[in-house]
Subunit: 422 residues, 2 copies
Amino acid sequence: MPVLKEVPAEAQVISHRLMLRSGMIRQQASGVYSWLPFGLRALQNIIKVITRNMSKVGSLEMLMPCIQPASLWLESGRFENYGKEMLKFQDRHDNTLLFGPTNEDMITDVFRHNIQSYKDLPKNLYHIQWKFRDEIRPRFGVMRAREFLMKDAYSFDIDQAGAHKSYNQMYLAYLQTFHDMGLHVIPVVADSGVIGGDLSHEFHILAEHGESTIFYDKRFLHLSASKSLNMEEVGSLYAVAEEKHDFNNGNFLEDEIASSKSIEIGHIFYIGTKYSKAMKAVVNDSNGNLVPVEMCSYGIGISRLVAAIIEANHDEKGIIWPSSVAPFTVSILNLNMSDDKCNELSKILYDQLLASDVSVLYDDTEERAGSKFATHDLIGSPYQLIIGSKKGASDIVEVKNRKTGKIEELDINLVMKLFLND
Amino acid sequence: MPVLKEVPAEAQVISHRLMLRSGMIRQQASGVYSWLPFGLRALQNIIKVITRNMSKVGSLEMLMPCIQPASLWLESGRFENYGKEMLKFQDRHDNTLLFGPTNEDMITDVFRHNIQSYKDLPKNLYHIQWKFRDEIRPRFGVMRAREFLMKDAYSFDIDQAGAHKSYNQMYLAYLQTFHDMGLHVIPVVADSGVIGGDLSHEFHILAEHGESTIFYDKRFLHLSASKSLNMEEVGSLYAVAEEKHDFNNGNFLEDEIASSKSIEIGHIFYIGTKYSKAMKAVVNDSNGNLVPVEMCSYGIGISRLVAAIIEANHDEKGIIWPSSVAPFTVSILNLNMSDDKCNELSKILYDQLLASDVSVLYDDTEERAGSKFATHDLIGSPYQLIIGSKKGASDIVEVKNRKTGKIEELDINLVMKLFLND
């Protein structure tokens, strides 16, 4: 974890600065990043929250390759439409390939070769894979990168009623997923762009330096992320992406509506039969007729989420991770490495927390106390266990809550209980 | 899990046939595959075994991108050497990029920007990422694919003695890793090819249709994969790759040596300073001198391993998964879906196994008994729980061991105990 004390000059937004300073990422080419161990842990924890929620709604995990043949995109009619953002190339036999920017075409191909009957529907499949979009101006670190990690899910239904049911189920699963990450998300009505279809929602979080602008009912601001989600309440409030907003065409009063900069972290599309018709993904319905399958697609920008979570959870000292995605739940700061008692106490805590599956980082470096405080405020573990700040204290540990800054002095046994019941 | 009854005509080797028949993969382009849910589970279980063993020896997980800038390869001097197997292309700004076939160059870049002192050594980092090698003739399914998943680790030491220690530690970790997957592996002395360096071992399993040939001490055949590994014994026996073998130049008698077709599943290299010198990855030693860091690299072909494990573990009916990597440990075959008692018993078993974190597949289709037997022998769960084969039996479950074929009749409570203590 190579921590920087200086603020990197090239980073314009706070999340990018904090990710570089805490040693989470390293840029390898414009918009292409390595994830160092600390950063990868955040990415993996976000993946855990997503897979748990996908599994709950019966979505099955699979994995499509990074490389796609141009032939599938020619078949769906999207090959030319996608423009310069698509990275195309020839292999040694002069076949045209591309680095997948999204997977509607390929999943339609997988579907048509494996499913022929309405009896096997509905079906919901997802994968988590690196995508590439050759952005003309990559920026803000992993927020607008070229190679990025996306979870994309696809649902298949026999008719429109079924597809709407699938869409709504995933809409709710997305609210729950972002809620589980400690994010205060606003689902907004959106355009469906290059994916196609006529119903679409984006999921946004408010952020000072966000690239999007949304208009939303002010009551969203009082729906706290910490209380359990009220799905009905969320779904009934007005919220739209900028291009969809019209003050003269909505069931609201103007002063009930706020507008803010925001970051898009998820996007769902009711696609219909655009791909299934073009690529002949047809199934037998209960009357024995061949009908094109009704599709929806659902994306979450996983690598971008790391930045978005930091934009929404930081202070002037550094990151404040929500527990569910924190690379480490606990940092142990041993301030007195020359004291046997401090070393013993730190080691006992470390071993016991590890054995209890609490993710813990033990700072046993020779750095001074001030430097250790600064480092651990920067990397933002929800809890810091501070050992050795007071001379002569035996089994007392200072427990600092990173978010509130509050410090409690607790006996070591009480500390262990605290985390085992967490 | 789209299971095929017919043998696919295009598949030449048994693992490819079984992977297609059991719905594990679908080819999307020559040597490029989608992993369907059943196949992905095997891949993920292999990853678990690998990460557990990497973690045990203190290797830290990170993640480098698929796309690499040509500049790093020009700097290391490998850009032209790699030849047509490297997939190169231009982005929209005419920068030359490539889809990484391996990561020595990039990890050296990450290292030199983050580590400057011998105090931070030794260091061992690994990542699990999709690679691409544009093979002239991809074949045998995922065994020789173009896009493939590899675990590659890299160690960094201040001197040769340290690097040899790291090399030996990973050599043993590899033996343990393959052993944990139920594989009977033979480590052979090998050439280091395009990676460079002067010490190298490959890890092979014997397989009738393997593409490699190895020469090895016949005593390897008696070192069973099921008993615990005797590291010293393994390390002292003669075993070399074909190109390294010389009957006139070894400490053995000719009739002690066998030769077999085999599959390479891992490869480790003592690299030395090839990359650190070319790319100026230097560190301060304890005397304050700048010295190039000593490197080794360590690869495991994860997607190829799925095929290799099947080559080594199958019979005429299908796959016989080793427990540690089985997509499902248990298959429940309900043979009488119209019987309330059978449905209840099956559901109780399914729910209790799930709740106990046993990975279980419940076959509640309307297929006939013979078809269910064939399907589950094909997909190879280590245990089949057969419900409803005998009229009037109440709480009796037939437990079939896929490997031995033996069937025991057990009370449901005994069945649960069996798996909870497993």
